[in-house]
Amino acid sequence: MAKTRNDYENSWWPRFVRWLKNGSSALDDAMYGDLEEEAVLPDAPAGDAEKREAQWDERRRLLLRDEQDMYSQVHAWSRSKGAKLAQWFYRVTAVVICLGIIWMLLQTAAYLPPFGNPDNPANNEVSRRYIEQGMQETGAVNIVAGMILDYRAFDTLGESNVLFIAACSVLILLRISSEKHGGDAVAQLEAEADDRMYEPKNDLILQRIASFLVPLILLFGVYIIMNGHISPGGGFSGGAVMGAGLILYLNAFGFRKTERFFTFKTFKVVSLCALSFYAVSKAYSFFTGANHLSSFISPGTPGRLFSAGLIPYLNIAVGLVVCCTMYAFYTLFRKGDM
């Protein structure tokens, strides 16, 4: 026992504590109370309950005062010296990290190949093949659509899933479910509705403009999606345009009207169908060892609306997911429900 205690006392931490406290050991201090307690309790006379109580109270008071002293010491240190030290450390670290990142980026920039050089690593056989053979192999006039929806369709599936997962996380965090919590949630929803009392509702100017613009915007979104394999555009941009149109309609006419055609159920069904269609239609490349260039769907005549194999349908799926996600984000952040 003694040996152990000596070992402990001679290690660096107790010595440091002792030095801090000017000589007395931390273990001594910690054991002091316990030892005294052991000594006091049996010796106390049996009938002297009140005296014992008073002793205990005194002890407690002293302990409490010690603790208070320690805390105030620590707080004073952290307020004066510690704060200065932390600030200095923070500044030095910030500058060092900034300089390090600048140095790293400059190093990277120095190693970049010169711009426009034909021998750059970006100009390899992959991009040459995309440009030269892309139209024959995929049937898409738009090389980008051919790349992202045929050669690299898995990548795009991942991107659509990222959007869907983001919408799901927002749902989990922000949705006020009325089935789950009963009256509480109803009250919360009503409070949200009250909060929106200040918003300009039923604005006649906005409604007139929206009734003219929303069909145009939706039509334009559909055009971008459907012509994704012929002209610049595609599922992502077209879906964003359609989602913006829906949000405009919602702002102009309120939730009552949008709930007639777009509810939480619509969101679920449409997103699920689009994503699973995409996943299923691209699953066969798992079984062909990702070597799906020889698709059994013929590319058709490039430039026609129904050509390029699966690309238009995949564009539609991506567009639906993006549109639903945009709208879901807006409604969830605004109302907490759909």
Binding site: Y198, E199, P200, D203, I205, L206, I209, F212, L213
Partner: protein, 118 residues
């Protein structure tokens, strides 16, 4: 040749006029302090300025399909931009509780009175 020069001068004049309108609007946007005064500057300059700029570009390029597209752009901007400014203004009016204090109409007498009071 003369026609070309005339077209260039016309398009340059239109573009410069649009630029002047846009710059004056931006100056107003930054000089004014209160939201509604800023809207007074912001809601006015973008319609006229963008139309003048686009007309300049249309004159410079001559008549093509792109010209029609620019016309559509002008139509859309004329429809959407005033409506958005209107909504921002209405939002400010519905939210601000101290509207009377912020938008107090000061005539010369009250201003002089306040100055003397200081």
């Amino acid at each position: 040749m003369l026609l070309e020069g005339l077209r260039f001068v016309l398009s340059a004049a239109l573009s410069l006029a649009g630029l002047f309108v846009l710059i004056s609007g931006v100056v107003g946007l930054f000089r004014f302090k209160y939201a509604l005064s800023r809207i007074h500057a912001a809601a006015l300059f973008d319609t006229l300025g963008i139309v003048l700029m686009l007309l300049g570009v249309m004159v410079a390029t001559g008549f093509e399909v792109a010209t029609l597209k620019m016309l559509i752009v002008i139509c859309i901007l004329w429809m959407t931009s005033p409506v958005s400014s209107h909504l921002i203004g209405r939002m400010e009016i519905t939210i601000n509780d101290e509207l009377e204090k912020d938008m107090a109409v000061l005539d010369k007498r009250t201003v002089r009175h306040e100055k003397e009071g200081d």
